[in-house]
């Protein structure tokens, strides 16, 4: 699996990062934009995600019917996503469709945003919000992010609220687009089977005329406080609880140790929380993980339990976090490293997964990391690095949010 990295910047500032895998059967192409709900203000909350939908509604040349039809004509696996910090548009196709796929993605990223389409799609967004309201895990997560980040922009909901979406105007969206969606704030990520010179030529042909944008991101430091919020919904059977604590950022070298720590403490199988809580069925699920953000980061704890067992489970989980600060062993770290390393090998064989990883890495750090580099960094993580990490990030302050049926049913 000899993977080769290529980089080129077009005169308009569009970065192209590419990882070539001659053994791949396909090519994956993605355009990633460094924008998301954290770059919105309250008056346009949800616009990044809504705009993601509008990109599929056509350009000056294509209608929405054309957009969907052409993707299907080239047999593409295609989709888009929006997070708090990034939006991405991608297609995975057989190599013979490389040009059509890139041309088509380039149309996606120059949307016409027609009034009629805007109004129809608004209904779809409202349905998506309603769908997530039927998902207790999602409700919990939104509340947790809002409470943990308070006045920091990472508290903004990705989907927005029914009210903010209802009020949003087409011209507000068009303005947001002009300010943020251009070279200087985006990257073209390509992986799999291709000829890089051809990719550069095609990118020049289809994206070379895009105007450069200067879209700085506000980076206030978040302030956190210890807090607990209980949400009641009588119709629920189960109790869903999450806690969030500060952790290293996506730029912080300690992020690699944080990933290993998350595996040692909170992997779904064989981790400390597994043995303390799931093996004995005190909790149905007990997860500890790491979310690196741009400029800051979070650890989180997530429990699904019978309502009557929540407090017991939480107490045990918090005791495990305290204990981990002092007694993580060589064996545990090695097992975690091996599991993560296998994940990297498997990801490296599939262009779609690698394309997202490389594109995301570039958006956050303007850096390419090969699988070998990731492996080497991973292998350098020791129990001592985890100990130091937990001295720097002490799981305090902690925001706890719990959602369940309330006292009545206990």
């Amino acid at each position: 699996m000899p993977l080769t990295f290529h980089y080129k910047q077009l005169p308009n500032g569009l970065d192209i990062v590419a990882e070539q895998n001659p053994d791949a059967h396909s090519i994956a192409l993605g355009l990633f934009v460094k924008t998301g709900s954290r770059d919105e203000d309250q008056s346009v909350n949800g616009v990044s995600h809504f705009l993601e939908h509008m990109m599929f509604k056509g350009s000056s040349r294509y209608t929405w019917q054309d957009v969907n039809r052409i993707f299907d004509e080239i047999g593409a696996k295609y989709n888009a996503f929006t997070s708090q910090e990034m939006t991405g548009y991608y297609a995975n196709v057989l190599p013979e469709f490389t040009e059509r796929a890139l041309e088509h993605l380039s149309h996606l990223l120059r949307p016409a945003i027609r009034d009629e389409d805007f109004n129809t799609e608004k209904k779809v967004i409202l349905e998506e919000i309603a769908m997530y309201l039927d998902d207790p895990g999602h409700r919990l997560y939104e509340k947790l992010m809002a409470a943990h980040f308070g006045s920091h922009p990472l508290s903004m909901s990705i989907l927005g609220s029914p009210q903010s979406i209802q009020k949003l105007q087409r011209d507000q969206m068009a303005r947001y687009f002009q300010q943020r969606y251009g070279p200087g704030n985006m990257v073209l990520s390509v992986t799999g089977q291709f000829d890089f010179d051809q990719i550069v030529k095609l990118a020049e042909k289809y994206c070379g005329s895009w105007p450069h944008v200067d879209a700085p991101r506000q980076q206030p430091m978040p302030t956190h406080k210890t807090q607990r919020i209980d949400m009641t919904d009588e119709k629920l059977n189960r109790q869903y609880t999450m806690a969030m604590m500060p952790g290293p950022s996506a730029q912080d070298d300690r992020r690699f140790a944080a990933h290993v720590l998350a595996d040692v403490v909170g992997d779904s199988d064989g981790s400390r929380l597994y043995w303390a809580l799931v093996d004995n069925a005190i909790a149905e699920e007990a997860d500890f993980g790491f979310y690196p953000h741009d400029g800051c980061g979070s650890f989180y704890l997530a429990l699904t339990t019978d309502p009557a067992r929540t407090e017991q489970a939480m107490k045990i989980a918090l005791a495990e976090l305290e204990k981990a600060k002092n007694d993580i062993t060589d064996d545990e770290v090695e097992r975690a490293r091996n599991k993560i390393a296998s994940g990297l090998v498997l990801q490296g064989e599939i262009p779609l997964g690698r394309m997202r990883s490389i594109g995301g890495q570039w958006i956050y750090n303007r850096e390419y990391r090969s699988l070998e580099q990731d492996m080497a960094t991973l292998n350098a993580v020791t129990p001592q690095s985890l100990k130091q990490l937990m001295r720097d990030f002490t799981f305090d302050p902690m925001t706890i949010v719990s959602l369940g049926p309330g006292e009545k049913s206990r």
Binding site: M1, D23, E73, A76
Partner: protein, 410 residues
Amino acid sequence: MGDRYFQHTLRNGLTLLGERMPGMVSAAMTLLVPAGSTTDPLNASGSATVLSDLVLRGAGSRDSRALTDHLDSMGLRRSSSVGVQHTRFGSAAVAQRVLDGLEVYGDIIRRPLLPESGFDAARDLAMQALAGIDDDPRQKLMVKLREWHFPFPYGRNSMGTVEDLEHMTLKDVRADHASRYHAQGAILSLAGNIDFNQIRELAERTFGDWDGKAPASFATKPPPGRVLHENQKSEQTHIGIAWPSVPETDPDYYTVRMAVEVLSGGMSGRLFTEVREKRGLCYSVWAGYSSLKGSGSVMGYAGSSNDRAQATLDCFIAELHRMREGVTAEELERAKIGLKASTIMQGESTSARAGAIAHDFFMRGRIRPLDEIKDAIDSVSVDQVNAYLKAHEAGPFTIVTVGPKALNMP
């Protein structure tokens, strides 16, 4: 079979399958044991699920923790699940690790400790998961749709029932292991960076002296078409629709697959176009082919806000009726390219291929080379699809809704 595929049935009835994938570093294993929800003992629904957890709680000379630690130290990415006809165990990593792990899976399947303490926890976890279904209306809908669409025992919920789980004992589950974890009907497949002689030798050594007959399978009966409404306070009304189709071995199989792709393949599929894009009635709408051995079905889903759900159901059904009028040459061409591309891209994932060849063997008794699948897709003509659609109207429908109000049925 050439040098890409390998098939060998051991004397005891276990079938070993292999696919060599040049350029891959990894390998993946799928192991299907003939213990699915269909053959759960009559008053012990959920037994296969409890077993699939319990067998991992210690096996051979290793107790629960030693077993998990050992698998983790090899870096194996693992999964297990219970389906209609099998319990499935999967693992993936760098190839040699997966091969080393095979011996451990021999212990797990054949020599599990099935400990008392583990049983209580495994049963408790199964009951917790079952209680969680009510909190997730979409999951509840799919469980109910299977239950109502498939005549007993094919629609049984693999998660079991509260009554059966409450009464289940360790003795029952041990007896179930003795009666269903058998070589006959078991399928072991490996895909990726493998050597056929080596896997054959490994399989003989690990499973050669395993014996026992697979449980009798039940004949499939045609689904009758029924309607069910489950009252639930929810933001959306979740709609499930299912109807019978041909089995995978039927000469019309690819004709049907093409028709289903036209209905709901990519974003230019009819359901997505009419229900979501034109009318904005929902976020999620789809239909897909689903197979059992000897029978096939099409199952579909849509979720809409409660006041728009009736319009969604009506539009969905109208599209199913419109299929009678046939498909266009362009629609068929897109369907073919889409299905071929995803077949080829499956060749980039060792896990996907290990799963696919095991599925193929179970359904057809042999592995189909990728070229054969491509040819079968290419050979379908518009006339064939349209003649089929004219002669076989979709139905009878099983329609299940989960939401605050029943809908008017077509």
